[in-house]
Symmetry: C2
Subunit: 797 residues, 2 copies
């Protein structure tokens, strides 16, 4: 245990009473008492209290069900490395990539590792990869440190690989803001641990490349350096973000040297980029190297603290979160935190593959956004602060509803952060990363996130301010519509639609219509009938781009762009029947039927139930459905609105069969911060939230029994009777909820929020169940604005 005292530091607590920490792992105060070895071992990080709580509650190790490699190839872009839930630090390998992206064909396609950086995204690309640690042996060539790896292992909170070029084994784990590295060296007179602070993923000059702006390296001792690295750009084209770091080793180095360019120097301080104008990219490498003479199997450990506030805070983060040098304990604490989260899902009768897929999906959902509370460099606030909303346009559909169900406190904090960002930047982001808003995708879908929380009674949220933020989205054209707010808003509010004068006029018109529906819901709840009526009327703006005479592949009525003068855009002869830049990540088949607020009306516009079912069939059979992007998330369940839950069952079942596996290429498109993963969980369980409404549609469970913990000690159990292993009994024959007959293929959140058991009796052929009363729509007979839009829960005002 001597490693714990290597720098003469006192253990942070003196006996085994738990330290008081908040759930993000920040120590609040320490109890005092006698030192014990067990205590020192366990209290190596602030997560201790939570880890203890978790391990007391969970006898099962859910983390063994997670395979972090699922989705790393073919554009799933899931994170490889170690992180705690929502962890700021995500420490993991960066690969040499032939096309300037992290993964190209996938993580596994590059044989060569560059090193291990501290910040990453999951299910996304285009940002971070900062403060790269890389070991080496032999003569050091700063231009060429990369190495192949074998025996690569990634488990929850733990990464390991053998770096074959150097015969060094790497192991990684982490706390919230600290990456913990353990390197096992061979016998070598020239062993190095290099810290490259100019490194980032996707550096370059293209329009969404990251830019390296400058950095500082300061040698503090023979085992410590600290400094800052400054970057801007990346996928969200954000402004400068500063990554402060503090690196501390458990082993004094024979020499610590800095470098700029390719020149190693004995200077204790190195600086680049401080003379260049703001936001000017530079290409000068900068870093430091610790040199050692190592014996065979000598372990050298490093803790890399990260802060967005200061290097001093980075150092404090190390001291508070991981004061000792016990790698195993940090890993164990990370696992315990994950077990607490993963235990919210329980399955019975699932296949091995389903179990691996679903727990890995849970894991992926909780890697993003990033809890940056206490690390906001831009304003001081007592509110939680989250970054890496990447993007809400992806996650509002299924991720937010899932967190509202199983992690209401977390979702509350994420929303409070959104509102706080509105307070200080003027907008709730549609996407945000590196402390800057951007880029917008299709709508201002934080509106839907707020409404979803509101109608489901999520407490602890300042809804009046949230409502102000929604109105701001709906009324104030942004200076830079790629950054935040609603592009094309003036046309939208004046004409009722966006024209070809703005990009994505189709998808934006469709999504703003739904966003306005979300506003009207909250307006009703807050007692603002005038606003409720106004935005409810705007909820039908999508109809203004509906050309009932437009025919594609035998179907009549599609969204069609309008020219700035209001005339229809000229026909555009294309393979997939859409205009350039009219829609975003979805085609004319997908967006033309996107109106979850009023499917009744939309179905009528397509010619009625039968025509709508034919159109949906055609969409799926003729490859118009794009499983790799979020705009299609609701498509498979829309059959429920036309009285055909059996067809929903077919489609959902087969998408799961075909497009999701437990392999490295097992996520069909970019996981998008877990959006795909949350769709997978809901779809496998057989229910689908209609985000922004208190409604869930029933599709078809693929697992005999599953339950979700609801955060209030209650559970939602979903029991599928008569499920057969071949998946033939996919058609619901009858349903009960808490023992009461449920004749509809949908239910409300209020029916499950206090715990519920949904029993679905399955059979081999379609039945009449669920056909009669479709899920609610604004155009339902008797529907009136505030009476029906009034939330079905008493949300805290």
């Amino acid at each position: 245990m001597t490693d714990n005292f290597i720098f003469g530091r006192r253990p942070v607590c003196d006996h085994c009473q738990p330290p008081f920490v908040d759930r993000r792992g920040v120590l609040i105060r320490y109890a005092s008492g006698l030192v014990t070895l067990a205590c020192i071992t366990l209290v190596t990080m602030g997560q201790f209290a939570w880890a203890q709580k978790a391990s007391a509650k969970t006898v099962r190790d859910y983390t063994s069900n997670v395979d972090p490699f699922i989705g790393v190839d073919w554009g799933g872009n899931t994170f490889v490395g170690a992180a705690i839930p929502y962890g700021l630090v995500k420490v993991g390998p960066d690969m040499e990539s032939f096309d300037g992206r992290r993964s190209g064909f996938g993580y596994s396609s590059s044989g060569v590792i560059l090193g291990f950086s501290q910040l990453h995204l999951s299910g996304a690309q285009g940002k971070y990869g900062n403060i790269l640690v890389a070991p080496a042996t032999g003569p050091l060539n700063l231009d060429d440190i990369k190495t192949p790896r074998i025996n690569e292992v990634n488990q929850v909170g733990y990464y390991a690989a053998d770096l074959t070029r150097y015969h060094v084994k790497v192991e990684l784990t982490s706390s919230r803001r600290v990456g913990f590295h353990r390197y096992t060296f061979p016998a070598s007179q020239q062993s190095h641990l290099t810290i490259n602070v100019a490194h980032a993923l996707g550096l370059g000059t293209t329009w969404q490349a990251q830019k390296f702006l400058g950095a500082e390296v300061h040698v503090i001792s023979d085992h410590e350096i600290q400094g800052v690295a400054r970057f801007s750009g990346g996928w969200n084209r954000g402004g400068e973000y500063r990554v402060y770091y503090y690196v501390v080793l458990d082993t004094p180095a024979r020499a610590v040297r800095t470098w700029t360019g390719t020149i190693l120097s004995d200077a204790g301080d190195a600086v680049v980029g401080d003379k260049t104008p703001a936001d000017t990219p530079i290409t000068t490498p900068i870093g430091a190297t610790f040199n050692f003479s190592t014996k065979a199997n000598q372990v050298i450990q490093a803790k890399v603290g990260i802060s967005f506030i200061s290097a001093e805070q980075a150092k404090q983060n190390v001291e508070h979160e991981i004061p000792a040098w016990n790698f195993a304990a940090v890993h164990a604490a990370s696992k315990a935190l994950w077990n607490t989260e993963l235990a919210k899902l329980n399955l019975s009768g699932e296949t091995d593959s389903q179990r691996r897929q679903l727990y890995t999906a849970m894991y992926h959902i909780m890697l993003m956004p990033t809890d940056r509370t206490g690390e906001n460099p831009d304003w001081k606030s007592s509110e939680p602060y989250y970054d890496d909303y990447y993007c809400i346009w992806d996650t509002f559909r299924t991720s937010s509803p899932l967190l509202t169900l199983i992690s209401p406190d977390r979702q509350r904090d994420i929303i409070r952060s959104l509102i706080d960002i509105y307070r200080h930047t003027g907008y709730m982001p549609d996407a945000r990363s590196g402390n800057d808003n951007g880029r917008t995708q299709g709508g201002s879908n934080a509106n839907v996130v707020i409404a979803d929380a509101y109608v489901k009674g999520l407490k602890g949220i300042d809804y009046p301010t949230a409502f102000d933020a929604m109105i701001h989205d709906a009324e104030v054209p942004p200076a830079n519509p790629q950054k935040e707010g609603r592009g094309g808003l003036r046309d939208y509010n004046e004409k009722g639609y966006i024209t070809l004068a703005d990009e994505r006029s189709g998808s934006r018109t469709a999504e703003y219509s739904y966003d306005d529906f979300a506003i009207s819901e909250v307006a009703c709840g807050l007692g603002k009938p005038k606003e409720a009526a106004l935005y409810a009327s705007r909820a039908h703006n999508f109809e203004h781009l509906w050309d009932k005479n437009m025919t594609v592949e035998g179907f009549n009525g599609f969204m069609r762009p309008r020219n700035p003068d209001g005339s229809w855009a000229a026909p555009y002869l294309v393979v997939r029947g859409t205009w350039p830049d009219f829609f975003y990540e979805g085609d004319i088949w997908t967006y033309s039927i996107y109106a979850p607020q009023d499917m009744r009306r939309l179905i009528a516009m397509t010619g009625g139930n039968e025509a709508f079912v034919r159109r949906l069939d055609w969409t799926f059979l003729h490859d118009h459905f794009d499983v790799t992007n979020e705009p299609g998330f609701l498509l498979p369940v829309l059959y429920n609105y036309a009285g055909r839950p059996d067809r929903t069952a077919d489609i959902v079942h087969m998408i799961l069969e075909k497009d999701f596996t437990d392999s490295r290429g097992g996520i069909p498109g970019n996981d998008d911060s877990g959006a795909m993963s949350s769709w997978l969980i809901f779809s496998t369980l057989g229910i689908s939230p209609v985000a922004g409404q208190d409604v869930y549609l029933i599709s078809t469970p693929s697992i005999p029994e599953a339950s979700l913990s609801l955060g209030n000690g209650k559970k939602l159990r979903i029991v599928a009777k008569n499920l057969d292993p071949n998946g033939l009994n996919r058609y619901v024959q009858s349903a009960t909820i808490n023992g009461v007959d449920l004749p509809y293929a949908w239910f409300r959140h209020s029916q499950i929020k206090d715990g519920a058991t949904l029993v679905l009796t399955m059979g081999p052929a379609p039945s009449n169940w669920g056909k009669a009363t479709p899920p609610p729509s604004m155009s339902d007979a008797g529907f009136s604005t505030c009476a029906d839009l009034q939330p079905h829960n008493d949300a805290t005002k």
Copy 2:
């Protein structure tokens, strides 16, 4: 054993000396001797000799590795039911389908079974589904016999399900020309076995629907009917095909009734369609029903013999192939036949999923084409007769080369059949079904099949006649280019390219060029230097559609259509950069680099190795590669021609990860008679044939050790050293073949034909192996027509 004698029939052999049968299971003559029970049990079909041989050789049951449900959903269209290898009869369920196709979203998506018909395709749609047997209980409504099913099982040679509406269990097995049905009834005064002879899949009036032309039903006894049903059309738009049938039950019926329309009749003969003009579709149902009073669990069995010659022959087929009533023995014999085939592949170190995928792929490859020897209604011949080449355009790329490797005698017979079809119809088919040629897809790729066999030394083929057939393809414009031959041939031969006056001018020009290369190879081998030179020169015709100034997404040089006057077609603004009907099942990215005869030249046209690699990367990264269709089969391995086998390894590995699974949706596109499955086998083993050349490219094995039996007692073993379970060690570092260093990423058939061990030493990073000498191309320095095109084997002339 009394069932064996239920109709007083004598057993077909009198002692347990094996009957003499050919390997298609046709009895040739019987030995005589004493009757034994064991003999009667075993000799229930002609396959006995082969079954016995198989079971003696194989202690392992390979059939348990096969899951016939792989690929049944999402358009894989693989067969569900029971069949022997290449079996004429493929007896299986037909489903109610909402879009007029067999599978729609997939086999599993319909809950309702119509009955069990005798003829099916696998990995294809649009033909057959004839002579539908369906049980029922209770009052019989001829319009509504369908039933949901549960507990469905499909194993090699065996299908079973519980039909929930009637509480009847169905079990199916088969011999080559006989479907064997076993129904277990409940206690019922009204039990029925119905035979619907008007049924077929995809009946209708659309241009590729099947047409029902007429049928006859003749009651022979209380347990026998026979007759004929006539159809035409279907996917290949073929002429009339006549399915003769003989149905015999093991249980005398209380009554046998016929029906036409919905009227049951006591008439012993029923006929429809005999008065209508030829090829006029009719819609009058016709069939027969056997009625019983059944006790609980009473078994009623039926044998349905099929012939394309006569009802009498259908009856003989039953009597020769399955003279007794031992269902288990028929199933066991079918399994034994399959074990003989499946035993040609052996794996070591594979995952469960890989084992299931690969043996199922073997199974799928051997369901088509169909061995119809002795069942050709159109001409008499001593040659083998195969039907359901569906299509050669799909199967020539990897299926034919696989059979040439592991089933040379089978491939010989398939080719002899092609040549015999040429003798009697004037053309080798590009596709053929229902005894009629059609529809052509892209080229006359039987040319490549012949060349592939020739350069690999396949014996027993009349190559001079095959050559005549190839020349016929190349020189004689067909009357109906959708049926056979080369559409656009006049332009192609006069101008060197096809123009927009003909459909698919791009893909046809590309493929005819390669077909001509194939002709030149065989010409060389047959000592025809003039023809060899002529067709070798035509092998570069693809260049005539190359517009070096055409730029798409930053890449220069693509195939571009020419107008009939030779001018370039006007630019066509489309999402994927291609013109309508210029290419078939592939886009401009795929076809523009399709020239396996001269990749050296093509790479030069694209700007050299580096530009070519960038273009391939772009193709894969930007979704221009279509894994669901065959024109892209070679794309992943084309990197080898540019010195980058490492990139080939990346792509092949990740396609396997992402697009092939062991689930019901596990085949990414239509299996196309096993074409996809054969690609899967080669790609998993790490080698890829270049069809029509004696060349295999090395990609990356995904299994530590695999072997293929070569049909001559020898094996090709592929050993991948250092493979790691995460698939990271995918890069070949060095290779040996039979212990001799192999520095190239390719080898010739002559190097393995007498058995070989290919050892690939794998590593985690790309190496220099295989970079120096790319696979052969016509434009290689020093290449001259007959010297280099001369086959590297001494094929039998």
